[in-house]
């Protein structure tokens, strides 16, 4: 039997609010009572103009974006969540590919004139025709692509939250245990709610009947933790890098979590052990989820990796399969398609999604061993080596380069580069220390053209790089 649909967020919240009047969403400056939101079947007039429209939700603040999301779900045909670290230069491309009708933002959005005209025309059409029927809104998440242009991944409220047991209502099919949570649980996330991992926590709070404490841009981690503690938060989500950082502040002792969740990066044994030592009574869970594949597995035995018996076994959040050393995942949590003009389906013909994550069997556990395509995860932010190589190769002194991961105890990994100099430079610098000036110069060039997490921390001048028979650079997994 297919699980029942959650309907819209508005309907979910309306069903729960009578039972839990004290629920809130809060950030540094504001606390919004969820029972004070306008949750009637008919959305307010200000929202009606977005009926059946494609909306790019690009509010910088998480709280405002969450409120807008609640208002738009079930009204707009499609909401695209613009994460705060996405490059503003990409906004035009996103608008064009996704046929965006309206942008909700505090920024000054510059767009092509023709596009602006199209936007106005579309809005006029929307205002004139207000359909009473409920719309199933597509939720679109952005994830980084090889070329620097974000990929748009199409989800729905059901694919994102169908596994969360709704408070005050029947369960929507197979649910995943979220620890000792339920109505009244106060969540806190370090991870931005416009990204898959953070959005999971926003939805656990909203659908599961809880509240949520959100961070603000530029807020120091100690101040955020102190605020979360004061608000009574007990359920915390962060990437392993967020947690490493949190444990390096005095405020780590100010919180008393009963549930600690890690996602967005591979959790190594060291961070799991340190969290166990810091919070001896908490349930510590590391989740593996990807924007495309959705939530795939949750591990709570305190050990890195996941038990091999989960592969091919039913009962977890998803079916797992290992093909040629790569993890494949099948579940109702998967995204439907890419918004790329062709609506390229994300699950394959057999329903499995290729995660691109390489796993290695050690004893009776699988451990994550990097990305098949060499993508580097720097503290939860993806870096595609090709994008960095393209910048380095533009430097006039460079012939070719290879960008790869170097393990780092703070962000999990960091980017490094091997560079082959152009012939005249190689002769001048040789492989000697005189190449140091060139390395500084290439690094400065990268800093001018790339966001900080994509700049190689070290640049090694090498005489040559291996080229495979295919003519491609040989990439070895870190």
């Amino acid at each position: 039997m297919p699980p029942a649909s959650l309907g819209s967020l508005r309907a979910v919240l309306r069903r729960q609010n009578a039972a839990n009047p004290g629920r809130f969403l809060g950030d540094e400056a504001t606390r919004v009572s969820l029972s004070a939101l306008h949750l009637a079947d008919e959305p307010p007039r200000a929202i009606e103009k977005y009926r059946d429209a494609t909306v790019l939700l690009a509010l910088p603040g998480q709280l405002a974006a969450a409120i807008a999301l609640i208002a738009l779900d079930g009204v707009a045909s499609r909401v695209i969540l613009w994460p705060p670290d996405a490059q503003a230069a990409q906004i035009d491309a996103v608008c064009k590919v996704a046929s965006v009708d309206a942008v909700i933002t505090e920024w000054d959005v510059r767009s092509h004139d023709d596009q602006k005209a199209a936007t106005q025309a579309a809005n006029a059409g929307i205002a004139a025709e207000i359909a009473p029927s409920a719309t199933v809104t597509e939720w679109v998440l952005l994830t980084s692509g090889t070329t620097g242009r974000p990929k748009m991944v199409v989800h729905s409220l059901d694919s994102l939250a169908g596994h969360i047991s709704p408070a005050g209502g029947p369960s929507a099919g197979a649910t995943v245990s979220a620890g000792p949570s339920g109505p009244g649980t106060i969540w806190c996330t370090f991870y931005d709610t416009r990204r898959y991992g953070g959005l999971q926590i926003l939805l656990r709070a909203l659908v599961g009947g809880g509240s949520l404490v959100l961070s603000c841009a530029g807020e120091a981690p100690a101040a955020f933790l102190a605020r979360a503690a004061a608000a009574g938060a007990t359920h915390f989500l962060g990437t392993p890098s967020h947690w490493r950082r949190a444990l390096m502040t005095e405020a780590a002792q100010a919180i008393a979590p009963t549930y600690v969740r890690l996602s967005g990066e591979v959790a190594d044994q060291m961070i799991l052990d340190r969290l166990r030592a810091a919070y001896p009574t908490a349930r510590i869970v590391h989740a593996f989820a990807a924007t495309e594949a959705g939530l795939a597995l949750e591990v709570d035995d305190g050990l890195a990796g996941f038990p091999a018996r989960l592969v091919g076994q039913a009962g977890g959040p998803a079916e797992l399969d290992i093909r040629d050393g790569t993890l494949f995942v099948r579940s109702a949590r998967a995204a439907r398609a890419y918004l790329d003009g062709d609506n390229t389906s994300i699950p394959g013909a057999d329903g499995f999604v290729d995660t691109g994550d390489v796993v290695a069997l050690h004893g009776d556990r699988y451990h994550f061993a990097g990305r098949r395509d060499g993508t580097v995860n720097v503290g939860g932010q993806k870096v595609h080596p090709e994008e960095v190589e393209a910048v380095i190769n533009q430097h006039p002194g460079v012939r070719m380069s290879l960008v790869r991961a170097r393990a780092n105890p703070i962000t999990g990994a960091i980017v490094v580069a091997d560079v082959v100099l152009a012939a005249e430079n190689a002769a001048k610098h040789g492989a000697s220390a005189a190449a140091g000036g060139m390395q500084d110069d290439i690094r400065a060039f990268c800093r001018a053209h790339l966001p900080p997490h994509k700049v190689p921390v070290s640049i090694r001048i090498v005489p040559s790089l291996d080229i495979a028979a295919s003519g491609k650079l040989v990439r070895q997994l870190a």
Partner: protein, 81 residues
């Protein structure tokens, strides 16, 4: 150069490269609420591994995780002893 001066120089250099304002260094300055973010610290730890040949984070216990600049310097002094 002493370990202390190597660590301090690296902290200042990386903060400058990443355009992060850093107050004057003192031993009781909190490491991560001083303006340095995780990425800065990741770069600092990688640079120090290159110049000093040690990564004390790889082996440190939870109790050893540095909270202040002084703790951070001590971590490297102990690791290179």
């Amino acid at each position: 150069m002493t370990i202390r001066s190597t660590v301090e120089t690296t902290l200042i250099q990386v903060a400058e490269e990443q355009n992060k304002p850093l107050p004057p260094l003192s031993d009781d300055l909190p490491l991560l609420d001083s303006g340095l973010d995780s990425l800065c610290l990741a770069v600092i730890v990688a640079r120090l591994e290159d110049s000093l040949g040690v990564d004390p984070f790889g082996t440190a216990d939870e109790a050893d995780l540095p909270v202040t600049v002084g703790d951070f310097i001590k971590l490297y002094e102990n690791a290179t002893r």
